[in-house]
């Protein structure tokens, strides 16, 4: 929770700095830097979660969890399609 608010603050500060000074002070190779950081971030996320999700992959809990995730992803996309068509 605290981490989420912290990164929200980081985003707002970075965004405002980019808006104000982005034209004068461009980050060198920002896109490549972003890609490298993304790879490291996902590595760190894997490190943090551990390998339990891989070893427990076929126990009873996981098929139900996968079904819920699939439903949530599908319905969110469906609702976005419907609302976008009518209100955008």
């Amino acid at each position: 929770m605290v981490a989420d608010y912290f990164i929200l603050i980081v985003f707002v500060v970075g965004f405002i700095l980019g808006l104000k000074h982005g034209n004068r002070l461009r980050l060198p190779h920002a896109e490549k830097l972003g890609s490298v950081l993304a790879i490291f971030l996902l590595f760190a996320t894997g490190l943090s979660l551990g390998n339990s999700w891989l070893t427990e992959a076929f126990t009873g809990v996981l098929p139900l969890s996968f079904l819920m995730a699939l439903l949530a992803v599908s319905f969110s996309l469906l609702m976005a399609e419907l609302l976008w068509r009518n209100f955008s």
């Binding site: 985003f11 965004f15 980019g18 490291f40 490190l47 439903l71 319905f75 969110s76 996309l77």
Partner: protein, 199 residues
């Protein structure tokens, strides 16, 4: 870096991290700190880059789009929770609380575990975790026919951090800003909605 192999590299990086986790000798706290530092640096670089490419007029234009995406994500997740309750004969409150975690597994898992027991907590954790994985895997294929913006709703709260890595690969500043704003708003609503569902 070619767009087609980048998500694969990201996924491999994630799996490698998971596999190497027991060998790393890092405790949960240490690896979470590393994750938070990496996330903060990544978010700063991305937000600065996005800010430098944005104009005030384009910020105003994303407010309506963000609102539509947030409503889609909440309504879609709630519908999934109701359907799940009917399909597997779970309580409607529990199913809604699991679905309305919207990808935030570090919150939803412990919340359900403390309210309804470890097995519901495990389902809440893994279903939200799978939502993140599915978004990582499906965002680019889906965006080829649904456009870059609408599939953002699939990711829920994760579009402000982990899945932003894939969404950002569209290299369109507006899409990246929309994804972050969507993720930030969803993260704001998740604790509220999960708590309301469990009352």
């Amino acid at each position: 870096m070619k767009l087609s192999i980048f998500p694969l590299i990201l996924l491999c990086s994630f799996v490698m991290g998971s596999l190497l986790s027991p060998l790393s000798g890092l405790g949960n706290d240490s690896s979470s700190e590393i994750q938070l530092i990496a996330l903060s640096v990544f978010i700063f670089v991305v937000s600065y880059d996005v800010g430098s490419k944005m104009r005030a007029s384009s910020i105003r234009s994303i407010m309506k789009q963000t609102f539509i995406l947030v409503i889609s994500c909440i309504a879609g997740s709630a519908a999934a929770g109701i359907l799940f309750a009917i399909a597997v004969n779970y309580g409607i409150k529990i199913s809604l609380a699991i679905a309305l975690g919207m990808g935030w597994y570090t919150f939803d898992g412990p919340a359900l575990a403390s309210y309804a027991g470890a097995s519901y907590g495990a389902i809440a954790f893994f279903s939200n975790f799978f939502r993140e994985l599915l978004t990582l895997l499906l965002y680019l294929p889906v965006s080829t026919f649904a456009g870059r913006i609408k599939p953002i709703a699939m990711g829920g709260a994760t579009t402000m951090d982990t899945t932003l890595t894939v969404i950002r690969s569209s290299k369109e500043p507006v899409v990246t800003s929309l994804a972050f704003a969507h993720g930030a708003l969803i993260s704001f609503f998740v604790p509220l909605l999960v708590t309301l569902a469990l009352i």
